[in-house]
């Protein structure tokens, strides 16, 4: 019997090989975003902003208008684009170093202005692109290139930064959710959250962010399967899944 495929490659995904490591989460997320934009029929109305990080050339894989942004400034760039084209859908795609460390000011203030934007926040608990240094989201005890003994708050290396919870406190933010892509059910959940975050923008509800716990087997020094399990067993303890905030923004 011939296998039947439920899913087709989304048309907005160029059919090219990516530069990502095996088991990396970016591929799944790129696909979800392409799928969602297609489902919402937004190809001609979408502008994506890629970060500096492993997803720096995300625009090579998507077939809609995109801009690069300097490290951490994606939400400032997105603000500029959106204010010029309020009727277009503008989203950023950012890693944890990009969004929560160097770009924290831009993140907080875009959210606090209530910019009508969608942000996909990829939390892989490390700096992937630069070789696996500590990120603001690195777990306590997690070994990285710059925390060789494991992240230790007693050494003033800090605690995992819960950006989503912090952003949920801001009145300009309408939707905050955290999901993972550790199994097909979670991928489906992630799809639904990101779709909601895009729809919120069309409905002019304010700032929406979806944090996705995403595997980085290379830096974590795990097999792809082990990495998926580590998300479920370790990461979700620090970063619980679910909707953190879902409201109308009062203006």
């Amino acid at each position: 019997m011939k296998p039947t495929y439920k899913f087709k490659k989304p048309e907005l995904l160029h059919g090219v090989d990516t530069h990502y490591c095996s088991g990396c989460g970016h591929g799944i997320l790129h696909r979800l975003i392409a799928e969602i934009i297609e489902e919402l029929n937004l190809k001609e109305k979408t502008i994506g902003v890629a970060p500096v990080g492993c997803a720096v050339i995300a625009y090579n894989y998507w077939d809609f208008d995109c801009s690069e942004a300097s490290h951490g400034r994606a939400l400032a760039v997105a603000t500029g684009i959106k204010r010029v084209h309020p009727s277009l859908t503008v989203f950023t795609y950012q890693g944890d170093g990009d969004l929560a460390s160097i770009g924290l000011a831009e993140t907080m203030h875009a959210a606090n202005r209530g910019e009508n934007l969608t942000c996909v926040f990829v939390n892989n608990a490390c700096y992937g692109m630069t070789g696996g240094q500590m990120a603001p989201t690195t777990l306590i005890g997690q070994k990285t290139a710059t925390t060789p003994l494991g992240r230790d708050p007693r050494e003033k290396e800090g605690w995992p930064l819960k950006v989503s919870e912090i952003l949920a406190m801001l009145p300009g933010v309408c939707f905050v959710a955290r999901s993972s892509i550790s199994n097909p059910a979670h991928v489906k959940q992630t799809h639904d959250y990101i779709k909601r975050a895009f729809m919120n923008q069309t409905e002019e509800k304010g700032f929406s962010i979806v944090e996705v716990l995403s595997p980085c087997p290379t830096i974590w020094q795990k097999t792809p399967e082990e990495a998926m399990n580590w998300i479920d067993t370790e990461m979700t303890k620090e970063f619980p899944l679910g909707i953190i905030k879902n409201t109308e923004v009062h203006r």
């Binding site: 530069h19 190809k43 001609e44 109305k45 979408t46 502008i47 902003v49 720096v56 050339i57 625009y59 998507w62 077939d63 809609f64 208008d65 995109c66 801009s67 690069e68 942004a69 300097s70 400034r73 400032a76 760039v77 997105a78 603000t79 500029g80 684009i81 959106k82 204010r83 010029v84 084209h85 277009l88 000011a105 831009e106 907080m108 203030h109």
Partner: protein
Amino acid sequence: MTGNEAMGEAAIRAGCRFYAGYPITPQNELTAYMARRMREEERVFIQAESEIAAINMVYGASAAGARSMTSSSSPGISLKQEGISYMAGAQLPAVIVNVMRAGPGLGHISSSQSDYFQSTRGGGHGDYFTPTFSPASVEEAVRLVREAFEVADYYRTPVLILADAIIGQTMESIPLDVLEKPELRFKKKPGHKSWALTGARGRPANIIRSFFLYEGQLPRHNELLSKKWEKIKKSEQRSDLYQADDAHFLIVAYGSQARIVREAVDMLRNEKIKAGMFRPISLWPYPQESLTAAVKKIKKVFVIEQSLGQMVEDVRLTIPEKEILFFGKTGGEIPEIEDVVNFVKKHIKR
């Protein structure tokens, strides 16, 4: 109007649709002016959380196809440099106003010309230049802002207005026609801004980027940019002369210093000393052609700056065979007319 406000109005008349800025003296009047006027015009004004955010918002607005501007003063311009470098790389036009104050560090809010190197030598990282225009009056500031938008769009690159704090703060009247009937140098080309991000409708997707990962891409891109820098060097040199026709001694000065030097030239002429002035208006590209022509019959060249000597390097590069004498004051102190006169007299007696 103050120079700061006039530059804001000039930007609005030039079709600036997007402004983002962060407060810093001595350019605050410009930000405040834009806050009021951009709203009236139903365009975008954003008080950004920092200069870094402001330049990146301008990056986004420019990528979206809008004429965009930001303004700041020296320390803030330092913060914008990464963004300016990205814009040069990604070929995004914008106008960036630097109303200079004295440094290094927090320095002083008083007028200074110590950002010449930063402005004319790229400023940020990487192989690029930023066309830089320096006004000597409020009226000229208005003309240059207007022109800066055109130059930025034509060449697809960020353009700097480098104004001394004195120009930003001075109140001067401006002939109405300067604001109302701007002379346009460049005709809009067909397919104007077809590269902009507007949604991929009926065309392939557009990408705004300065990152070129694969072998040979970046050298090719930089070669392309290099052709642009060469073209700008040829076509965008601007300068002005005063009493230079029969001069034996030429004083080179830009911005507010040129006004002091102009008076010094008059005083020297009263004493039968044939002095003249050369005033660069474009600092990059440096007006090498006109300076070379202007010094043909000149015995000595004087350079007056409100710095420890920055522009003087371009003078030395342009006319190395001439005797070049530098006088400057640093840290926000202003050379007086008499200082200039005495300096020239001291060196021509010998």
